[in-house]
Subunit: 448 residues, 2 copies
């Protein structure tokens, strides 16, 4: 095969952005994608009735300048998530309506949660985004889990439950899986907690017309036959003369390679020379979160008629968080729900039928018996996805940042690293994927 | 190639025990070992002057009935670790001699440490070894790290430092990397804390004549040409008719396979069908500990002449724990030291020369300037070892046991799982490796 200047591994938003910037700079690029499709952790699904929804990542929001810029460049448009009517919260066994981001808790619970939020935001503002371990209190904060901080900082059981829900919603993980320093980093990386959690003015504000996989499809269209699907990289070699990547179908050579894959995936590739031990050890400690994203299609968005937004947060699982994911222009309605963490792993292991049943039961608990009669249903267990093995992103457990995790974006010889997990701003989001892809492309351009 | 009844992947103690039991039962076995040697996480090293020491696991002790039985069966003998004279402890900037397991702390520190030890032992006695998550308080204990428990349970800074040293010595990891439930499990799995930490009557009591790698060499000799070296398994397939394992040199078929490798290694093998998502997610959360094992050879064991045992524990790194690893019959002396956790990853990344210099500096700090003049020096960075990628064993972080980790020893179709991480008694030790190998062999025999 002809030799490229750069091979990008992974045709998600990060890898394709890197490849497109390199192509724009006149470099010969090739993108090797393991799946028979582009998009990485974004994935469109079309219901039989025509509505396109996303079973992977879907949102963009304010302050995400890089992805918003890319959307404009690609001619893609956004529309707001449906956000009218009452939200619902099920806590203390009672279902209650509320407006905005924070439910109408009892005053002492509200105080507890707001104080915690203020403390998180205040501490987060001090975290150096390029390397959280440079903060003077980094060791202290990196040695405690988010769970330990929650137990210390929140005074009410209900308040602690709310923070667990926050952990699930933002990380697809339980608080004990996360370094507190990482949570502070993530809050600053995503502006502040209100922005991370919010719909209006927040990270869940807007959707992409045609579905978020369109971002990768548009980039791939521009790259043409440089993008090779069904090419899982099984082995890599590098030496003074270049990089060679072995896929199931053959060998690909280039001067440099960019890996734009979830961090753990690099462990699954046979390496010559081997990654340095310290780096392999860090990657052994960067698991993906776990989420099942579930959607039911209904003849109408019946909850709207009841004055409801379709947004619910709940103390009862497995679906603890829902949204109205209906598509403009269609008379039909879509309810969307997330199953996270341990529950995601458990329900991934169950039959599709029982998962559908329990999800609809959750929807009915929040929005009434009409939710039990969908026209259609779809879900996606991201732990089962062959080349992601989890979502939304990698979890940084206690000790990882102060153990050198910032060095995971450092090149190793001719290998460069992109993917949203290597971003400083909006890590874990589309915007971070773009930042990481552009940074890796710039690194490579300096070397070629 | 001819088809075997069973293929065992990994020629460490666990895999070879499994293979030998199956061969004894008349089955046709094949062992595929990725390295050019047997032994797994045991590895002998011969100094130029003839002394054989171990740069991997080395000890056996009382209550380890399975490995002691295997040693007898193989005709291997043991000898006690040198354990005469004063131990040393460097804490609070002062080097002090002591006898036994626990240094002569100030009374309030001693009280603090002993109370913690009693609490650990008392709680550990209740843990079900087959599945710690069955304990009524499992969720509570699995959601806190060992670090959080230490901060709560110990009242003195010095006492907390001692527990951190315990964590390094037993797990090659910092307390924040470990679920408190796992620590309780591990203490019971290894009898109690005194046994885990002790030399006399403890897990560090005895060594194997000729070095611990002899265990695997003896087993391999009995298995003859069934053991194939330099055969890293890169891919596995299973279907109704059997299992196929692809190595760099060819394909191997059998009715069943036993994986006797560190848990993370399974992720590095291309699988068809893929592991279930929940299981892949658990394996993403089971990193190996990190240790550099260091030894210096001297003309004489000069510390003995000073009335010292060669055993030191220290608040200062990178070597915080030492032993006299001299070999009977030689006039020369061997000092051995461990670098653990973050320090192991850092020093693995440094030059061999600078690592040697800092280790000898540590030895001199404890045993005097004579330690700066060795005849020879050797160390082993286990994070760099291609098919271990860490030692001593896998770390179970918060949430893993209650997330279903006991199921990691369940077969997946025709795949069975051994390795010390799947043991109930003495997990992480040779004894657990034997238990796991024999249990996996029994499982397979039931199916053949």
């Amino acid at each position: 095969m002809s030799r490229a200047d750069v091979i990008v591994v992974g045709a998600g938003i990060s890898g394709l952005t890197a490849a497109w910037r390199l192509a724009q700079a006149g470099k010969r690029v090739r993108v090797l994608e393991a799946n028979p499709r582009v998009g990485g952790r974004t994935l469109n699904y079309r219901f039989a009735t025509g509505e396109v929804v996303e079973v992977g990542g879907q949102w963009v929001g304010p302050t995400q300048q890089r992805i918003l810029g890319l959307l404009a460049e690609l001619g893609l448009e956004t529309f707001p998530l449906w956000n009218q009517g009452d939200n619902l919260t099920l806590f203390g066994g009672k279902l209650k309506p509320y407006r905005g981001t924070i439910p109408r808790f009892a005053p002492h619970v509200l105080l507890d949660v707001l104080q915690a939020q203020l403390r998180l935001d205040r501490l987060a503002r001090q975290i150096p985004l390029d390397d959280p371990s440079r903060h003077p209190r980094a060791l202290e904060w990196d040695r405690i889990s988010f769970a330990e901080w929650i137990r210390r900082a929140l005074k009410t059981a209900h308040g602690r439950q709310v923070m667990e829900l926050v952990s699930g919603a933002v990380f697809a993980a339980a608080p004990h899986e996360l370094s507190f320093l990482h949570v502070l980093f993530y809050v600053r990386s995503g502006t502040n907690l209100d922005t991370l959690l919010g719909v209006q003015d927040g990270a869940q504000q807007d959707r992409i017309v045609g579905g978020s996989q369109r971002i990768s499809e548009e980039l791939a269209a521009r790259l043409g036959d440089a993008v090779r699907l069904d090419e899982p990289v099984r082995a890599l070699r590098q030496d003074a003369s270049g990089v060679e990547l072995i896929t199931d179908s053959g060998s690909h050579s280039a001067a440099r390679a960019i890996f734009a894959v979830p961090p753990t995936q690099l462990l699954r590739i046979t390496q010559a020379p081997l990654l340095p031990g310290w780096r392999d050890q860090l990657l052994q400690r960067l698991p993906q979160g776990a989420v099942v994203k579930c959607m039911a299609l209904y003849a109408t968005p019946f909850w709207r008629a009841n004055g409801q937004s379709g947004q619910a947060t709940s103390e009862r699982g497995p679906v603890r968080l829902t949204f109205d994911n209906s598509v403009p222009g269609s008379p039909r309605g879509v309810l969307m729900g997330f199953i996270e963490g341990d529950e995601a792993r458990q329900w991934s292991a169950s039959s599709a039928e029982s998962r559908r049943a329990v999800v609809l039961e959750c929807f009915a608990r929040y929005f009434g018996a009409a939710a039990l009669q969908p026209l259609d249903y779809v879900d996606k267990c991201w732990a089962d996805e062959p080349f992601a093995r989890g979502c939304y992103a990698a979890l940084f457990p206690a000790g990882l940042w102060t153990g050198g995790a910032a060095r995971l974006r450092e090149p190793l010889g001719r290998l460069h690293f992109a993917g949203t997990e290597t971003a400083t701003r909006w890590m874990g989001y589309f915007d971070g994927a773009v930042e990481a892809g552009e940074r890796a492309a710039a690194e490579v351009l300096q070397q070629l």
